[in-house]
């Protein structure tokens, strides 16, 4: 009897997914790790004060040291780190059949996609400079969006 109720609880949170869907979520989780590494690197750079000086890429300062690199005093890179970690978390849970995680994943990636469009516009038309780390992050987000859009809605 206790084992029956336990399985019922599990059913309410996690469901079995087709193998293809599990693979897609696993790939999403793995790709988000690349974005997490990129965003973590940029956050550390910001905290260490490297974005306040020249020394590396000349164009990176123009982007990472600009007024658009912070939102309410918080570095965009730090927000990106949290976002990629959230994507990794939701994708991992989704791969294990947690249905709510799929919704959260889709919403997070959609918000990231819109943010990426805004930051690409800022780099191209307002700052006239591109940071290669930001472009890498943009590529990751587009890839994640593509995968999420391609994933079947129902298990």
């Amino acid at each position: 009897m206790p084992s029956q109720s336990k399985s019922r609880v599990q059913q309410s949170t996690a469901v079995a997914l087709p193998r293809g869907t599990v693979i897609v979520y696993a790939v999403v989780a793995l790709i988000s790790l690349a974005g997490l590494a990129d965003a973590t690197y940029l956050t550390v750079q910001n905290l260490a004060g490297e974005t306040a000086v020249c020394g590396g890429s000349p164009d990176c300062f123009r982007v990472l040291g600009s007024v658009y690199s912070k939102i309410a005093g918080i570095p965009v890179a730090a927000i990106g780190t949290v976002a990629y970690f959230a994507v990794f978390t939701f994708a991992t849970f989704a791969a294990f059949g947690y249905q709510r995680a799929r919704t959260f994943l889709a919403v997070t990636v959609f918000v990231m996609f819109l943010s990426t469009l805004w930051f690409l516009y800022v780099q191209a038309f307002l700052l006239h400079a591109f940071c290669r780390y930001c472009l890498f992050s943009a590529a990751i987000t587009f890839l994640l969006t593509g995968l999420i859009v391609a994933t079947p809605r129902r298990p």
């Binding site: 973590t40 260490a48 000086v53 020249c54 000349p58 970690f85 849970f93």
Partner: protein, 223 residues
């Protein structure tokens, strides 16, 4: 057991991210630079070429800058204000430290030196920073520098010759060598009374605070 697997994976990745981030931060944390006694201004072979302010000023600010570096351009305006506010209490020294990955930085340093050979270094220095956005991506930067020389009323033929001449090159090289010997690897690098400022202090408020502190230090009675 299977239901705990995603929690374990997520927690593991979280710990690895925090751990790697902390290690990276420790590696990147800027080292506080200082100018040793034998390399301080006033010692033999350490005399700067470009100085603004009295020699006996209690505070000396030595900047290593690159004319094409945006943070240097951003700090140049507030620095001018600071110079005006502190007047005879502050002496400012500028050293060329052009980065090779800044396309026109070296040429700009030569242009400033060439203007200096006609006694207008600081005017060209200020103009280059003021106009940074206009010449940084220009295809024919030399033409622009000549136009700046014209604005400053310089003798143009001499300016062009001096830009390519050995004196300008030697001065820039000497500044770069001093910077490298002090451990400078980023611009702007600012020293106040031989004490390097961390990158986070490269803003007007922190600069003023550092100058005030240096002034207080000088005013302290020596026992």
């Amino acid at each position: 057991m299977r239901r705990f697997v995603p929690f374990i994976i997520v927690a593991l990745v979280g710990f690895i991210t925090i751990g790697a981030g902390t290690m990276l931060y420790r590696a990147k944390r800027p080292v506080a630079l200082t100018i040793s006694e034998e390399k301080s201004i006033g010692k033999e072979n350490q005399e700067p070429t470009h100085v603004r302010g009295p020699a006996q000023a209690p505070v000396t600010l030595e900047e290593f800058g690159d004319f094409q570096c945006p943070p240097c351009g951003m700090i140049s305006g507030p620095l001018l204000e600071i110079e005006k506010d502190y007047g005879p209490k502050l002496r400012v020294i500028f050293r060329n430290f052009p980065f090779p990955n800044h396309q026109h930085a070296l040429e700009a340093a030569y242009a400033a030196e060439a203007a200096g050979l006609q006694g207008r270094y600081w005017e060209m220095h200020d103009l280059l920073y003021k106009e940074q956005a206009n010449w940084s991506n220009a295809p024919d930067v030399k033409q622009l520098f000549v136009s700046y020389a014209k604005i400053l009323g310089l003798e143009l033929d001499r300016f062009e010759t001096d830009m390519a001449g050995p004196t300008a090159k030697a001065r820039v090289t000497a500044d770069q060598e001093r910077g490298k010997s002090l451990g400078v690897n980023a611009t702007p690098s600012i020293f106040i009374n031989n004490q390097g400022l961390p990158p986070k202090s490269l803003n007007p408020t922190a600069l003023r605070a550092a100058i005030e502190e240096a002034l207080k230090e000088k005013e302290k009675p020596t026992s």
